[in-house]
Amino acid sequence: MIELVHVEKTYQADLATPFTAVDDVSLSIAAGKLTVLKGPSGSGKTTLLTLIGCMARPTSGRIHLHGLPEDTLPELKEGDALEITSLPERFLTAIRRRTFGFIFQQFNLIRGISVLENVMLPTYPTGEDHQRVEASAIQRLEALGLARHLRAPVDRLSGGEAQRVAIARALINDPLVIIADEPTAHLDSKLSEDFMELMGQFKSSGKTLLITSHDPIVYGSPLADRVVEMRDGRIVKGS
């Protein structure tokens, strides 16, 4: 479970024109469920995702993670809640690597390298066995229907294919939580429905899913266990 307590994120806080993207948000996200953050552009959804996913620190407030495996950090015991906002960078990276898999709106694949290499990239710093990782990446890509694109540069893929590469990459470290930021923004209705079907499979396998979207295919999906609506950095519905 992920628990946010009075979380605030202000950009340029030390300048004359500070901007508060997330304003006093308190929220509990259940494990193994699909939660959708809904709201217009600029409502603070993406910023909230980056805070939960240890990609940025809140200006104030606390974020607690429950149910992390013991080996995520040294001296972490099963069942302990971990307050992440005050952790040093290397611990945040370790949590990000083990706990979260990100699917970005723009897919954020590294151009010029192959599909397979993009998927394997998150494992490079961990020093895992290369052949084992490659086998795992190929298996995931095959499961997502990308077997014939393994060695192709990602630049040549269609939008739907690029997103499936991003999904395979998000899964390579077998994370507990999958975070997707506006995943259907660049997909047509058919591909969006395919995406939600995939999310359903991940949910069935016990993953926690956190998706931001203002696409009715996502927030109106029967798979969504909870829809949280945001506006101007605050939760206006579904907290």
């Binding site: 990276t93 990000r96 990100f102 020093g127």
Partner: protein, 378 residues
């Protein structure tokens, strides 16, 4: 133990593939970088080889040369003084030397004319250096004409062309009998250009020099070590001059490298953000960029040094021999013996590879230590 090694291998692999992705930019950088290393390394190799050549040739030089000075200028010395110097304790031999310069207006170059006591050297014959033979287009058996002191032409037969191994010093040399030298320059009997002194024990040279000055206050003894020092200073001066000229090239390289290395493109910045967001630490990103910089630097350094080696020792530094070899127009043509100075190469390595790597890492460190979302947004 395996995981850290695998981590290094993975990141090095990715660094190489990243370099290949930006082929144009990196190739341009490596070319300019290699060119600068090539020029500096060529200079280092060339100057070192010349110094070594000079040192080896001077081994055969006399321990001391005694010149006579008149009004601070070098003047012919009476050969009779040789006897008095030979009588000084510790002096093994004194040999009067007869030599001078001859300006050849046809070739526009100075020749060094010297008397040789070799029995094989016949009267009215000369031995010439390869530079002289080349300029005058003569071979053994041909005749050359030199203008005597009164303007009259004097013919000499070329008996021998001096071996290539000594061309650095002998390129402009013309050896002839003592009689011919005196006739050519109208050099009076009983006078020599200088006296070559050999000591039994080189440690006594300073004492012998002091005694010579005491005996003949108008003389100036010059020891071999002083000649060696002068040669080194000359080569250093030439090298130093080139280094000053190269300063501007190095400065241009620094500006270029700084621009290329520090100008982190938006794409690179975004990539760093992506890598951090998918679980790379700042130290992983720094290691990646360190490998990239190291590969560029080492490739350029090794290519530059290798090209310089080939240039200097296989092509006799053909690109700048005119600027560096001698003052005469009779340029020596010879192959230098390889002489590598590990100290200077190490200095070159630290002056080029380290600044470039540092210049690369500073902006990367700045980009890599911000939050991944900030790196991606910027």
């Amino acid at each position: 133990m395996r995981a850290p090694i695998q981590r290094y291998r993975n990141i090095l692999d990715f660094a190489l593939s990243s370099l290949l992705r930006r082929k144009g930019r990196n190739l341009a950088l490596i070319c300019v970088y290699t060119l600068v290393i090539f020029v500096i390394a060529s200079l280092i190799f060339f100057v070192q080889a010349l110094k070594r050549e000079a040192r080896e040739l001077l081994i055969q030089a006399p321990d001391m040369v005694v010149q006579r000075m008149v009004a601070g200028r070098h003047d012919p010395i009476p050969t009779i003084q040789a006897e008095a110097i030979r009588a000084i304790r510790g002096v093994e031999a004194v040999q009067p030397r007869l030599w001078g310069y001859y300006y050849d207006p046809v070739f526009g170059g100075n020749l060094t004319v010297m008397a040789a006591s070799d029995q094989e050297l016949a009267v009215d014959s000369v031995w010439v250096g390869r530079g002289v033979a080349r300029s005058m287009r003569v071979n053994e058996g041909d005749l050359i004409s030199l203008r005597g002191y009164g303007g009259q032409p004097i013919l000499f037969a070329v008996q021998k062309i001096l071996p290539e191994a000594s061309e650095l010093v002998s390129s402009d040399l013309v050896l002839m009998s003592e009689k011919d030298v005196r006739a050519l320059f109208n050099f009076p009997e009983g006078l020599a250009t200088d006296l070559a002194v050999t000591a039994g024990n080189p440690r006594e040279l300073a004492t012998i020099a002091a005694k010579i000055v005491e005996l003949f206050p108008d003389t100036r003894p010059i020891m071999k070590t002083e000649i060696l020092r002068t040669y080194e200073a000359i080569f250093d001066w030439r090298g130093g001059l080139m280094v000053v000229v190269l300063g501007s090239a190095i400065l241009a390289f620094i500006i270029f490298a700084w621009d290329k290395a520090t100008g982190l493109s938006a794409e690179e910045r975004k990539e760093i953000g992506i890598l951090k967001s998918i679980g790379w630490e700042s130290s992983d990103v720094l290691l990646l960029k360190f490998w990239e910089g190291a590969v560029v630097s080492l490739t350029a350094f090794l290519s530059g040094v290798l090209l310089a080696y080939v240039h200097v020792f296989f092509f006799s530094a053909s690109l700048f021999e005119h600027a560096l070899k001698g003052w005469s127009v009779l340029f020596p043509r010879y192959r230098l013996v390889p002489a590598l100075d590990a100290y200077q190469l190490t200095v070159l390595f630290f002056l080029t590879v380290l600044p470039y790597t540092a210049a690369t890492l500073v902006p990367i460190w700045r980009a890599a230590t911000v939050d991944p979302d900030a790196a991606m947004r910027s």
